[in-house]
C-alpha cells in the first residue's frame, strides 16, 4: 500500500500524533530530537504535496472516503502548497537551530511539554491550510492559537504573561467573530464546505446576512493576522516570547490567517456579493497603507531589537494586504509571494536575534554594541536578512516589492501614491536596519561587550546561514515560489469578471 495518496491528511496527523508521545520522553535531548524529526517529516510531506500540485494540479482528499459536502474534504491548491512550505519550513529551521537557545530559556523538566505544544501548534497551522471546510478551519485555528499562547508564555520573562493574556483575549474575540460569520453563512446555505458554499450562495435570495458574515469573517481574521489597527497584541507577544518561538511565529502565524482571509474573500464572497471587490479594496487598502507607514515609523524609534522587528512585521502584513487589495492577478501574486519572502527574511532576522541573545543579556540597542566585531557570522546573517527585508536587488524581498510596484503601476494616479508608500517604507527599513548595523559594527564596546564574547554555537550558525542564503537563492531564482504564487492568484481570481 502506498502512502502517497494520503499525504494531505498525514501532513496534519504526523505532528499531532507525535505531540503526546513527546510528553513521555524525559531523557535529555530526546524531546527535541523527536519534535525536530516530526517537523522535518512534515516538511518532506509538504515538499511532496507541492511537487504533486505542480504536476497534476489541486489535490482533493476525502476523509474516510465520504463524498463532500457531507464528508470532510481536504484541499491542496497551489496557494496551500506555498503556505505549507512556509509553515513546515519555518518550524523545521527554527527547531534545528534552536536547541541551545531553548535549553537556555526553558527548564529541562518542562521541555517535553514545550515541544508538545510546539507540535500541536504546527498541526494546527497545517490543519488550517489543508482544511476544505469553514468549521475545521475554526477548530484548527483555535488549536494553533492555544498552542502559541502556551509557547509565548513559556519563557523566563514575566512580561510575557500580560502580553499573552492580551493575545488570548484578542485571539478569542477574532475566532468568535469568525464563528459568527460562518454561522450566518450556514444558516442561509446549509453547508460548511468552502467550495460548496461558493456555489450555493448564488441561490440565496437575501444577501444582507452574507454581507454581515463577510464583515464578521474579514474582521475576525484581520484580528488574527494583526492587520493595522488590530495589531495591538503582536509587538508585546513577539518581544517577550522565547526567541526561537518568536522566529517560528513571526515567520508563519499571521500568514496563515491571511491565507484564510484571502480564500474567504476571493473564493466565497467575491463573485457572490455585488461589488465586493471594490468594498474589499476600499476597506483594506487604507489599512494596508497605514500599516506600512505607521508601523515602519514606529520601528524607526524603537530601541528594543525584537520589538523593532515586530513592528516591521506589522508593516509587512500591510504589503501583503496592499497586493491583495489591488484585486489584480499581478497584485495578488506580489502579495502571496511576499508572504513567502517575508517569512524567509523575518525568520532569518529573528534566528540571528536568538543567536545574539545566546551571548548578550539584553536586546536593547545599547546592549549589544560592538557585536558585529565579536560575532561576525551572526551579524553577517542578520545583515543579509535585513537586506532582504529592505528589498535590495539580489535578495528575495526585492522580487515581491518589484512585482508590487509593477502591479501598482497599472492603477494610474492611485498607483503612483502606492508606489511612493512602498518606497518611503523601504527607506524607513533602510534606516532602522542601519541603526542596528551601526551599533553592532561601529559602536564602542560597552557593558556586556567589554568581555570577550564568543561566536554563537556552530550548529546554530550553520542553520542560520542556510536561512540567510535561502534569501539570496530565492532572490536570484524565484521561479518556484513565483510559479506557486501566480497559480494561486489566478485561482483566487478565476471567477471574477
Amino acid at each position: 500500500m502506498s502512502l502517497t495518496p494520503h499525504l494531505p491528511v498525514l501532513q496534519v496527523v504526523t505532528p499531532m500524533l507525535t505531540a503526546p508521545l513527546v510528553v513521555l520522553l524525559h531523557v535529555r535531548g530526546l524531546p527535541w530530537a523527536a519534535a525536530t524529526a516530526s517537523s522535518l517529516f512534515a516538511f518532506a510531506i509538504a515538499v511532496g504535496l507541492t511537487q504533486s500540485v505542480l504536476d497534476h494540479g489541486s489535490i482533493i482528499y476525502l476523509l474516510g472516503s465520504w463524498p463532500a459536502p457531507y464528508g470532510i474534504e481536504l484541499r491542496i491548491t497551489a496557494f496551500s502548497a506555498l503556505v505549507l512550505l512556509i509553515v513546515t519550513g519555518a518550524s523545521s529551521l527554527t527547531l534545528l537551530a534552536g536547541r541551545c537557545s531553548i535549553d537556555a530559556e526553558i527548564d529541562h523538566e518542562r521541555q517535553p511539554l514545550f515541544y508538545a505544544a510546539w507540535l500541536l501548534g504546527l498541526a494546527g497551522l497545517t490543519g488550517i491550510v489543508v482544511a476544505g471546510d469553514a468549521f475545521n478551519i475554526f477548530v484548527f485555528m483555535e488549536i494553533a492559537s492555544l498552542a502559541s499562547y502556551v509557547l509565548i508564555a513559556a519563557g523566563p520573562n514575566r512580561r510575557a504573561l500580560p502580553a499573552v493574556f492580551n493575545y488570548l483575549i484578542f485571539g478569542t474575540i477574532g475566532a468568535t467573530f469568525y464563528l459568527i460569520g460562518v454561522g450566518l453563512i450556514y444558516m442561509l446555505t446549509g453547508t460548511l464546505n468552502l467550495a460548496d458554499m461558493e456555489a450555493r450562495i448564488h441561490q440565496v435570495g437575501e444577501l444582507r446576512p452574507i454581507l454581515v458574515a463577510a464583515g464578521f469573517i474579514t474582521l475576525g481574521l484581520a484580528l488574527k493576522a494583526a492587520v493595522f489597527p488590530l495589531h495591538a497584541w503582536l509587538p508585546m507577544s513577539y518581544t517577550y516570547a522565547p526567541h526561537i518561538v518568536t522566529a517560528f511565529l513571526a515567520a508563519c502565524s499571521t500568514k496563515v490567517a491571511l491565507y484564510v482571509l484571502l480564500r474567504f474573500d476571493f473564493l466565497v464572497f467575491q463573485q457572490n456579493l455585488l461589488a465586493h471587490d471594490i468594498q474589499f479594496a476600499l476597506f483594506l487598502m487604507p489599512l494596508a497603507v497605514m500599516a506600512i507607514l505607521i508601523a515602519s515609523g514606529v520601528a524607526l524609534f524603537e530601541r528594543n531589537l525584537k520589538r523593532m522587528l515586530a513592528y516591521s512585521s506589522i508593516a509587512q502584513v500591510g504589503y501583503i494586504l496592499l497586493g491583495a487589495s489591488l484585486v489584480s492577478v499581478l497584485g495578488l501574486t506580489a502579495g502571496i509571494l511576499h508572504m513567502f519572502n517575508h517569512a524567509l527574511a523575518k525568520g532569518t532576522l529573528f534566528l540571528a536575534v536568538a543567536a545574539l541573545a545566546m551571548r548578550f543579556s539584553g536586546l536593547r540597542l545599547e546592549d549589544f554594541s560592538g557585536a558585529g566585531r565579536q560575532m561576525p557570522w551572526t551579524m553577517g546573517a542578520f545583515v543579509l536578512g535585513g537586506l532582504s527585508l529592505i528589498g535590495v536587488p539580489g535578495t528575495a524581498g526585492f522580487v515581491s516589492k518589484w512585482l508590487l510596484i509593477l502591479a501598482a503601476l497599472d492603477q494610474g494616479v492611485l498607483g503612483i501614491a502606492l508606489i511612493a508608500t512602498v518606497l518611503i517604507s523601504s527607506l524607513m527599513a533602510v534606516v532602522y536596519i542601519w541603526r542596528i548595523v551601526e551599533v553592532a559594527y561601529f559602536g564602542g564596546a560597552t557593558g556586556d561587550a567589554c568581555r570577550r564574547v564568543a561566536e554563537a554555537p556552530t550548529w546554530m550558525l550553520m542553520v542560520l546561514w542556510a536561512a540567510a542564503l535561502a534569501n539570496v537563492v530565492f532572490g536570484i531564482n524565484p521561479s518556484l515560489p513565483m510559479m506557486l504564487a501566480r497559480q494561486a492568484a489566478s485561482t483566487l481570481l478565476q471567477h471574477s469578471p
Binding site: 468549521f135 488570548l168 483575549i169
Partner: protein, 119 residues
C-alpha cells in the same frame, strides 16, 4: 410582530455585547475572562437557535416512526466542539492569570502596568 419573532437573535446580540463590554471595560483579569465566556456563549445560542425546526423533535431515528420532523443535528454537534474550544480557552486564560498573580502579586490591569513602568 416580526421584531419579536426573532426573539432568540435579539437575545444573542444582547448577550454578545454584554460579554464584549465586560472584556473591554473591566480592569480585573478574571472579570475580563468572565466577559469572554459570556461573549462566546452568545454564539452557542446563535447556532442552537438556527437548528430549531418548527415542530421538530430530537434527531433520533426510531423503529416504526416515519414522517417525523427532526431538528437539524449538525449545528448542535458544531457547537459541542465550540464549547470544548471555549472551555480550553478559559482554562488556559485562568492558568495565565494564576501565573500573573504569582509573579506580579495582582490581577488588576492598571496595577500590572504600573509595576512594569516602575521596573
Amino acid at each position: 410582530m416580526e421584531l419579536f419573532g426573532l426573539y432568540n437573535y435579539w437575545v444573542f446580540a444582547i448577550i454578545l455585547m454584554t460579554g464584549f463590554y465586560a472584556v473591554i471595560a473591566k480592569g480585573n483579569l478574571i472579570k475580563k475572562l468572565i466577559g469572554l465566556s459570556i461573549f462566546q456563549s452568545a454564539v452557542f445560542l446563535l447556532y442552537i437557535s438556527m437548528d430549531k425546526v418548527d415542530g421538530g423533535t430530537a434527531p433520533i431515528i426510531q423503529k416504526g416512526v416515519i414522517d417525523q420532523v427532526y431538528s437539524n443535528p449538525l449545528p448542535q454537534v458544531l457547537i459541542l466542539t465550540a464549547i470544548v474550544v471555549g472551555i480550553s480557552t478559559t482554562a488556559l486564560g485562568l492558568a495565565i492569570v494564576v501565573r500573573i498573580k504569582e509573579s506580579y502579586g495582582t490581577i488588576e490591569e492598571h496595577e500590572i502596568q504600573e509595576l512594569e513602568r516602575n521596573s
